[in-house]
């Protein structure tokens, strides 16, 4: 690393930062042991008692600082947990607002443009479904399926051409969030012929 321009010199310096830290620690540790020796850097004799006292002060100091550090970290983590809960719905809300905006636009459409209006509302609903998918919300449609209380809620039962236990009508769709049921599909179940 001899013939380098300035830019690379700066690079070199910054590498030192990366490398320096572990070195510093090692130096500190070795110097701790050196302190117990009876000679200081200039070769002057040191009182071993004084050296130990110094060391105790130093370690005490370090301990206190570490405690403060830990305390700060704890507070920070606690605050982050609270924030995470407070703002958990932020992204979802923002996505929902697009839908709200479009519904408001739909209401602004003048009378007599029903086809275009319906088309817009349909697309708004489509965009919402796409959004739900991104948030891992999965829709459950039950008609034709075997009634399953883990996903469906029976509102009533009635005779039909379908075999007993098959869902023949759906009052409203069910939904799962990240694989967990958040609302069962409300359904009508066949009791057979």
């Amino acid at each position: 690393m001899s013939s380098k321009n300035k830019k690379q010199d700066i690079e070199d310096q910054e590498v030192e930062v990366v490398k320096d830290e572990p070195n510093e620690k090692i130096n500190e540790e070795t110097s701790l042991e050196d302190d117990v020796l009876t000679v200081d850097e200039e070769g002057e004799p040191i009182d071993p008692m004084q050296a130990l006292k110094n060391e105790v002060t130093e370690l005490n100091d370090k301990l206190l600082r570490q405690h403060a550090e830990m305390d700060n970290l704890r507070k920070r983590t606690a605050r982050e947990v609270v924030d995470a809960r407070k703002f958990a719905v932020e992204k979802f809300t923002v996505a929902l607002l697009d839908v709200v905006d479009n519904l408001e636009r739909a209401l602004d459409v003048e009378e007599g443009k029903e086809d275009a209006l319906r088309d817009g509302v349909q697309r708004t609903l489509d965009s919402w479904r796409g959004m739900m998918e991104k948030f891992d919300v999965e829709r459950i449609d039950a008609v034709g399926e075997q009634f399953d209380p883990h996903k469906h809620e029976a509102l009533s039962q009635m005779p039909s051409n379908e075999p007993e236990g098959v869902v023949i009508n759906q009052h409203c769709a069910g939904y799962m969030l990240n694989g967990r049921l958040i609302r069962p599909a409300q359904v009508l179940v066949s009791s057979g012929k």
Binding site: E11, V15, R105, K113, D115, A116, L117, G130
Partner: protein, 333 residues
């Protein structure tokens, strides 16, 4: 032990992080965002930074300063300054010694003074998070920054009340973030950094945790926003074909289109296709109109082909300057 923060002072966005345990933690700002727009505005007595400054840009074009990083350490009569001048809405003036400065409310200010305001916001973001004052910082700059640009960045730090311990090259920071320093053999890597408005490519050699910049190149006027622009144009054309209405002339529609285009672009980074669905985007005598365009990644790639092409020339030049060939490159970040 005082904490040292790391600041990415970007052309478009800035970001601050701190070492926590043995990993870096990016600190969200008071609005909860990990990055803060590098935008500063003076509105009467009020000084605005970040998202708020960006939001009032249209109403206060003369006193809203963005992308000032392009001016840092540059002369007023340089080519870059002239080009930059054509693209921005705020006044650019020459300082007494010919540097490119800006003018805010009739007062001349250096780009480092403006950057210092962004840095201050990053500093206070870190302080709010850490619950203690912070003075020591490391700031990243593009690898191609010369000494005066590096010095100007340091000055910006000092104005913001920061003690700048180091100026680190952005590609080096990126390589570190990807853990590429943890290799014993010597490796060549290429760092391809497409920001909001600038493009940088660097060839680094890593060995034993030591980085050496072999070559850098780039285009200070090519960035993610150009990609957005291409997509906006495409969406508007598709819409016009179907509906005969030009959305580019409709300010409200254009704003929705802009947001949707950036979102679609970001989605296409991970998905093979996406759908831009903007119901009620505009209306005419026949009623409301809706925009619905599917964009596949292949389509997007063909649209931005020219932009990608433009980024290749700097890449080739960088390889040439480094005296290596593309096959020598071990990693691309």
């Amino acid at each position: 032990m005082a904490k040292v923060i790391g600041i990415d002072l970007g052309t478009t966005n800035s970001c601050v992080s701190v070492m926590e345990g043995d990993t870096y933690k990016v600190i969200p700002n008071s609005e909860g965002d990990n990055t803060t727009p590098s935008v500063v505005a003076f509105a009467g007595d009020e000084r605005l930074v970040g998202a708020a400054a960006k939001r009032q840009m249209v109403t206060n074009p003369d006193n809203t300063f963005y992308a000032v990083k392009r001016l840092i350490g540059r002369k007023f009569d340089s080519k870059e300054t002239k080009h930059h001048h054509e693209l921005v809405s705020y006044p650019i003036v020459a300082s007494d010694n010919g540097d490119a400065w800006v003018e805010a409310d009739g007062k001349k200010m250096s780009p480092q003074e403006i950057s210092a305001i962004t840095l201050q916001k990053m500093k206070s973001t870190a302080e709010d998070y850490l619950g203690e004052t912070v003075t020591d910082a490391v700031i990243t700059v593009p690898a191609y920054f010369n000494d005066s640009q590096r010095q100007a960045t340091k000055d910006a730090g000092a104005i913001a009340g920061l003690n700048v311990l180091r100026i680190v090259n952005e590609p080096t920071a990126a390589a570190l973030a990807y853990g590429l320093d943890k290799t014993e053999e010597n490796h060549l890597i290429a760092v391809y950094d497409l920001g909001g408005g600038t493009f940088d490519v660097s060839i680094l050699e890593i060995g034993d945790g030591v980085f050496e910049v072999k070559a850098t190149n780039g285009d200070t006027f090519l960035g993610g926003e150009d990609f957005d622009q291409v997509l906006i144009k495409y969406l508007a054309e598709e819409f016009k074909k179907e509906n005969g209405v030009d959305l580019l002339k409709d300010k409200l529609a254009l704003q929705r289109l802009k947001e949707a285009a950036e979102k679609a672009k970001i989605e296409l980074s991970s998905a093979q296709q996406t759908e831009v669905n903007l119901p009620f985007i505009t209306a005419d005598a026949s009623g409301p109109k809706h925009l619905l365009v599917k964009v596949t990644r292949a389509k997007f790639e063909s649209l931005v082909g020219d932009l990608v092409e433009r980024s290749l020339a700097p890449c080739k030049q960088a390889l040439k300057d480094a005296g290596v060939s593309a096959s020598d490159i071990h990693d691309v970040v």
